[in-house]
């Protein structure tokens, strides 16, 4: 009989893990306290990274993005706007990054093509006409909700069961082993127990709370909020990035009928309570105006903030904030913490969620003796609408 894996959280990480483990032959159950992809994943930028953003600062992340970007284009072609992206230099300081950026792209295997300002303005007439150069990379746009739904729809076709509006309130133990979870069905307010051979904590910024529930004092993750500001109309066909070190308000993503500028970065205590700082709305609009002057007058469409679960690599010493935290991810086997059968997968980016799930699946496979290799590189994803078929 196949082993039962219970996944806590249906964001991009949890849904990708569900897909990976279902293909490896596990019996998969996903438990989500709200709607699918409603928090960190739902409020992300929707940018399928080419890797360009990390080309100068984080070669490993850049290469991983480049590989996953090419793969996702094959696996979910209908769910992506394959409209590519530009890195734009607005001033002389931006221009000093030009060579480093091109070198970084070459090193990471990111196709990059430099355009003259005239060529860039022909492609994107709303760009700041003072731009000094533009480099074209294969960024893409995805809809975060449907991105996660596609993973989950495919997992369901492979036997996974999904419980939404179902909150994990405790773990069930047998000695030092976790044998299931106690859940609250928020629709009926009834509690019940779901048994499992292994439990995966994919709760993102709530991963620390889940860890504490299992008696694990510290999980190396820092909930770090960021703001997104949307204005009416697509002011570009492509993603517009500022050519500089990664910073605040330096990416514009056309999403549906909007243009979305982001983001900022500040550490939060409780991911359920993130008020939007009004001064950051103006900051984002000013940043957007530098890249696309129409942002100065475009009507505001929506504003949001959500916490990302960034890995804290400084556990045991030092203090870092926001942007210095790594965008990488890590998997933890909590047997060493006295909770056998519990694993956590934290950090990472939606673009690389498939690769994250592959690594976790490999670890879980080694621990449980399930030797079926990962198949998520070959199996195309079902349409997100298939989630609702049964």
């Amino acid at each position: 009989m196949s082993l039962h894996a219970l996944i806590i959280g249906a964001g991009s990480t949890g849904t990708a893990v569900a897909h990976d483990l279902a293909l490896r032959g596990f019996r998969v159950t996903v438990v989500e306290r709200g709607e699918i992809a409603s928090e960190t994943t739902g409020r992300n930028h929707g940018l399928l990274h080419s890797g360009g953003r990390y080309a100068m600062t984080d070669p490993e992340a850049a290469q991983e993005c480049a590989e996953e970007n090419a793969l996702m284009r094959k696996l979910m072609p209908d769910l992506l706007e394959r409209n590519d992206g530009l890195f734009v230099a607005i001033n002389e300081e931006d221009l000093t990054y030009r060579e480093r950026f091109l070198e970084g792209c070459a090193r990471a295997g990111i196709p990059a093509q430099e355009l003259t300002p005239k060529q860039a303005l022909e492609l994107e007439p709303h760009l700041n006409p003072k731009l000094l150069t533009a480099i074209r990379v294969p960024d893409g746009v995805f809809d975060p909700f449907h991105f996660s739904m596609a993973f989950l729809a495919t997992a369901k076709l492979n036997g996974a069961v999904v419980y939404t509006y179902t909150e994990v309130i405790d773990f069930v133990w047998s000695g030092r082993s976790i044998t299931g979870v106690k859940v609250l069905d928020r629709r009926t307010k009834k509690e019940s127990v779901l048994g499992a051979d292994l439990v995966i904590n994919a709760a993102g910024p709530w991963g620390g709370e889940i860890g504490q529930m299992a008696g694990i004092k510290h999980i190396a993750m820092v909930p770090t909020a960021g703001i997104m500001v949307a204005v009416h109309r697509r002011w570009s066909k492509r993603i517009i990035n500022r050519l500089n070190r990664p910073g605040d308000g330096d990416i514009i993503v056309p999403q549906r009928r909007n243009s979305v500028i982001g983001t900022t970065s500040w550490v939060v205590q409780d991911p359920d309570q993130i008020p939007v700082p009004p001064e950051q709305i103006k900051q984002m609009l000013d940043c957007g105006t530098l890249l696309v002057p129409a942002f100065a007058t475009a009507p505001l469409r929506g504003v949001s903030a959500a916490a990302r679960p960034l890995l804290d690599k400084t556990v045991g010493g030092g203090k870092v904030e926001g942007r210095e935290l790594t965008r990488g991810f890590d998997c933890f086997n909590h047997a060493a913490d006295g909770a056998e059968g519990l694993f956590s997968i934290l950090g990472g980016k939606t673009t690389t969620s498939r690769a994250m799930a592959e690594k976790l699946g490999d670890i879980v496979g080694r621990v449980t003796g399930v030797t079926t290799p990962c198949r998520t590189k070959e199996v195309p994803l079902a349409t997100y609408r298939a989630f609702y078929r049964s």
């Binding site: 709200g34 709607e35 992809a37 409603s38 994943t41 739902g42 409020r43 929707g46 209908d78 769910l79 992506l80 706007e81 394959r82 409209n83 590519d84 022909e122 492609l123 746009v141 809809d143 975060p144 909700f145 449907h146 509006y165 928020r186 629709r187 009926t188 307010k189 997104m228 949307a230 697509r234 066909k237 056309p254 999403q255 549906r256 009928r257 909007n258 979305v260 409780d270 359920d272 309570q273 008020p275 939007v276 009004p278 709305i281 505001l300 469409r301 929506g302 504003v303 949001s304 349409t383 997100y384 609408r385 298939a386 989630f387 609702y388 078929r389």
Partner: protein, 225 residues
């Protein structure tokens, strides 16, 4: 800052239904969804609602705001005077999950029958790859909630699926054209529309389903001749 009283329909099919009023204070730039999140974070963690992007792209946070179908993420609190009571209720014509959350399965199953691809070709100049962008319909269900005919029959395809069908017939993309045509003129297709035009009124994405239904009717009428 302004203070609003959010009067929310609470409960679920098993718990029954009653209204509960919460007082929230929000910056003038905020939208109704921020008030709902504030209740969830600070006042009542049992509140159920759907949301994701907060900029009208995901289509999750549809609700009836003072009786009208709106996306809560683009309903500015500045529309309401300080101290006002705003009533929030779940969308109609969908199975009720609880509080403000509904199950959108009936709409998504109909969209699946129509088979409208999620992304469409776009005019992308000078690229080795064909350009594309997402369709405008965000499958939020506001039109299905506002439509009186959907309210009278769950079998009626409804505004968003018919608008999708019109898009497909106008611009066929790897779909079974005759199957698509047959679906639209079935007994639960375009001819059941009573032209109440509520769909177009509430659509947050300018899809204009009533115009699309009109186009489909002309298409079926003149196609025979």
């Amino acid at each position: 800052m302004r203070t609003l009283k959010l009067r929310i329909l609470r409960g679920s099919p098993t718990l029954g239904r009653q209204y509960q009023t919460f007082t929230v204070t929000l910056p003038d730039e905020a939208n109704i969804i921020d008030g709902v999140e504030q209740i969830f974070g600070h006042q009542d963690h049992s509140l159920m609602f759907r949301h994701a992007c907060h900029h009208a792209s995901c289509g999750l946070c549809g609700a009836r705001v003072n009786g009208r179908e709106r996306l809560m993420c683009i309903t500015p609190v500045s529309e309401f005077p300080d101290g006002a009571t705003v009533t929030l209720e779940p969308l109609r014509n969908f199975p009720w999950v609880g509080d403000l959350a509904v199950d959108v399965k009936p709409l998504l199953q109909k969209m699946d029958m129509v088979g409208l691809p999620y992304s469409r070709e776009d005019e992308l100049a000078d690229s080795p790859e064909p350009g594309n962008r997402f369709e405008d319909c965000i499958e939020c269900g506001l039109c299905m909630s506002a439509c009186p005919v959907v309210g009278s029959s769950t079998k009626y395809l409804g505004p968003a699926p018919l608008a999708g069908l019109a898009r497909l017939i106008q611009e066929p993309r790897e779909v079974d054209f005759s199957k698509a045509c047959a679906l639209g003129k079935s007994p639960h297709g375009v001819w059941r529309c009573h032209s109440a035009m509520e769909c177009t009124e509430v659509c947050p994405s300018d899809v204009d389903p009533s115009q699309a239904i009109g186009w489909l009717r002309r298409f079926y009428t003149f196609k025979k001749k």
